[in-house]
Subunit: 181 residues, 2 copies
């Protein structure tokens, strides 16, 4: 592939991610326009609309996987791993705001990757409970869902907040809540 072609490709993926997050029904024409290329050019890169969506999801999965790796969820101390994960995943969630859950039946391969990543986080939450960082009796599924929700909130409802501060806020709220002592 030529260098300018590669630039166009990433532009389409990034524009697509932003538009599809706001409106999953965004047309290829709208994505092409946002990326500054012709509609037929997009069709040349991606055989179908599904293929484009798959490429966007793959890009998100790639970024998320790198964050999971670098957070050292199974080895680093829980507070360290948690913070590293949050600081890394919030920018990823902002850059690729698409919801990967709605791709399950369409793209089984991506769905599998997503499940694997989800399982790694589940395991981390279990370790967090096992090592006593969460209150005894805490439901792991609830803790996991709350963590995801806080990440989404920080990432998308406070898009201007810098990742380190957002990670602090999420971790603090997750562990201690907002109530007075």
């Amino acid at each position: 592939m030529r260098a300018d072609a590669a630039r166009n490709l990433t532009a389409v993926l990034q524009a697509g991610a932003q538009l599809l997050a706001e409106d999953p029904g965004t047309s290829m024409a709208a994505i092409a326009a946002a990326a500054g290329v012709d509609r037929t050019t997009v069709h040349r890169r991606f055989a179908s609309r599904e293929a484009l969506l798959s490429a966007v999801f793959q890009a998100k999965l790639d970024s998320a996987e790198q964050v999971l790796d670098e957070a050292r969820l199974t080895e680093a101390p829980v507070p360290v791993a948690l913070h590293r994960y949050l600081e890394g995943i919030i920018p990823v969630s902002r850059q690729w705001p698409v919801d990967t859950r709605h791709m399950m039946q369409k793209d089984p391969e991506a769905s599998l990757r997503r499940q694997e990543q989800s399982a790694r986080l589940d395991a981390f939450v279990r370790r967090t409970i096992d090592e006593g960082y969460l209150r005894a009796g805490t439901d792991a599924a609830w803790a996991r869902a709350v963590l995801d929700g806080l990440v989404d909130t920080a990432a998308h409802k406070f898009p201007a907040m810098d990742p380190p501060r957002a990670a602090d806020l999420v971790a603090g709220t997750f562990l201690s809540g907002l109530g007075a002592t």
Copy 2:
């Protein structure tokens, strides 16, 4: 309106809310099929797709408004009001899972009602802070966003959890987090 017609109308609204929440691009034909009526019947009730969406949003706004009223957010003690609100809003969020934010430019009237309801909740969060139920220095916008996120999580990721227990869980997580003391 005849009684059977009213039944069909509510069936369309409820089926539409569920389908549109999963896929905002759901066709009128799919909604009609889910509601068990013909496509043309839906078109007779709702002049356009937009009109149907507006009706769904109105139904959600009506239910939410009732919850806000009955929670007595400005008068009841904060813990009582919070719990009443949560116990009421979670079923509403389940019955009308549509996201009302994406209707802003399309339906200015509904958007205004939504803003009014949002303002009532903002005021409640401020009161919660002013009366010392949240830690001093807590960002009201963050608290509000976290509360919304927890409601969504409890409502949609734990659809089988009964509202009183879900309200307990949300309130507890909101105020105290999940961390060990």
